[in-house]
Symmetry: C2
Subunit: 345 residues, 2 copies
């Protein structure tokens, strides 16, 4: 059975902020049968995760190329791989059969051909909405849980600051911190997002950084007793201001640098003298580093979800052709919560 | 018995690189007897430690003012306190008596009046040269030991980079790392210093950063397999270059930022994306944080010294009037090893 399979590619490497015109929607003819003797699996994608880290793979050179095998550079014109949830339509692999719901590293496409050895596992669709496995129960959740709880073991009463707090990871970091009894403030880029953080997600406070003229003074206002833990999703001036407002023995997680993805933007120049005198610890990480605690994370987070203590914010676009605008929109702060593209069934 | 006591003060706060004309030598008349009922101790200073961190206390505002009580801002015209070794000439305190050799926080002066509750302890002058208690067995040694060994537990074969490697702390960091079986490269600012590191201190290699045009490429040359541990004494461009050359899970100690003490100089703008992808940990510290491991440090370091495995490099000036030039010289890279001013007996 032949279908026409639409998929998204980059036309060329992307060095600055991405634009929709950097992408192209291509169509291929795909046979939905698996050849005799092949162990391929064909997946019909249902939900595709849209994450800022892809921009690093779209550059002609990025640190990811040095560091980790599963984040190889993308080749213009070729299918883009990334986390997705789908349904198996054909399988030459005994571990998967037609009809299975699966999450794995598939492609920005309607259908993906998944090779033996790819990252992929079955899902039970009766437990949670399938989209959760891309966000709160996927790498976004694991990043928030690992980069906050596993790294720093936040104590009741500690003061936690989260930037890009209305994003896929930020919404979860703030809620985990609140569940641990911390005082939590988030920064975000619109009035609507600030309201969400305060009114729906239970942050103690939140502010729109675009309305602030001096971020150092802003943080002093929200943290008169200083910041104990900063979960950084943005880099740039916010990181500088946070370091100036940290308490002694403060801890900083570097999760993202969305203000610096565009290489024409200014990088953070933190005051390292403050890092010394305040004995600050700064740590970078990748979600995959926390796979050893995945089962703890999953148990804890599933409990929070079932009891309604953790709220899930998702921002869904429909159709493979919306992938470029969804991706570009992340860098403009268009999304609220986890950005996902849902494909037509 | 009255003496004339010479001491050094700052004339005004110092915001940029220090100059000798920022300092003044003052003279006071001092009675070397302790009043009845007073618990003061009068110390004749023998050796005064000259350290870059004092510059932070000379500014009108510095991070140290927030962070730690023993590093309060200095007041122009008033005596400057700092680590010294001396001899007790009079004591109203039963724990100390005339003739005791002592190390503590005294003043940049010929004589210091030490109040009850000050940081001060007796020394046994038969064990090691008295100057060692300001350097290798003092805060310099504890900083090197704590910031390298205690923080990161370096393993045999790990690749260690030290900047300002010929300074009081750098000379010790490199030697501790060699004693642990690491591959060690140091950066320094003159041919003579580079030769010292390679020929006398056993570094695997060393380079003069002033002769390099691209520090990133320089570090790639000396660390073709990347850096596992960077002990940073300088900040600025060297920190940026080191971060770009770190291995996955690399560790960085921020001990000093001598390239940034002059606020007119450019601060480091490290690539935080590398901090993420390489999962780098960056930690600041103060020597005092390691007082809990002081006895381990002392035992280990004393053994190394007695067996000749650790070499001590000291750079000594003579007379209280040389304190300003000694201090200013540190920021010009004039010293080799621990800078100390010896006072005439």
């Amino acid at each position: 059975m032949e279908v026409s399979n639409k998929y998204v590619v980059i036309k060329h490497h992307i060095e600055e902020a991405p634009k929709e015109s950097d992408f192209e929607l291509k169509t291929e003819s795909l046979n939905l049968l698996v050849d005799e003797g092949s162990d391929d699996i064909i997946v019909k994608n249902l939900y595709i995760s849209i994450d800022p880290y892809h921009i690093n793979r779209m550059k002609s050179f990025s640190p990811s190329q040095d560091a980790i095998s599963y984040s190889t550079p993308l080749i213009p014109g070729q299918a883009i791989d990334g986390p997705s949830v789908g349904n198996v339509v054909a399988s030459g692999n005994a571990k998967f059969e037609k009809g299975d719901f699966v999450v794995g590293i598939f492609t920005w496409a309607e259908y993906s051909v998944v090779k033996e050895g790819s990252i992929m596992r079955k899902l039970d669709p009766s437990q949670f909405p399938l989209t959760y496995y891309l966000g709160v129960l996927g790498f976004s959740g694991l990043s928030a849980y690992g980069g906050l709880c596993e790294f720093w073991k936040p104590q009741k009463g500690e003061k936690v600051f989260v930037s890009a707090a209305s994003g896929s990871i930020g919404t979860l970091v703030g809620q985990y911190a609140k569940l641990l009894g911390c005082y939590v403030v988030g920064s975000s880029g619109t009035k609507e997002k600030v309201a969400l953080l305060k009114d729906k997600l239970g942050f103690d406070n939140a502010f729109n950084y675009k309305e602030e003229i001096n971020l150092n003074a802003t943080l002093k206002r929200y943290f008169p007793d200083g910041i104990d833990i900063y979960f950084d999703n943005v880099g740039g001036e916010m990181l500088e201001a946070a370091i100036d407002n940290m308490n002694a023995f403060g801890r900083i997680t570097i999760c993202g640098v969305i203000s610096e993805y565009d290489i024409t933007k200014k990088r953070a120049s933190p005051n390292m003298l403050n890092v010394i005198y305040k004995r600050i610890t700064i740590k970078g990480f990748l979600a995959g580093d926390f796979l050893n605690i995945y089962s703890d994370f999953l148990a804890q987070t599933s409990n929070y979800l079932r009891s309604g203590k953790l709220k899930v914010i998702e921002d869904i676009s429909f159709g493979v052709e919306t992938i470029p605008s969804a991706f570009v929109g992340i860098f403009k702060g268009n999304n609220i919560g986890k950005k996902i593209v849902e494909l037509k069934v």
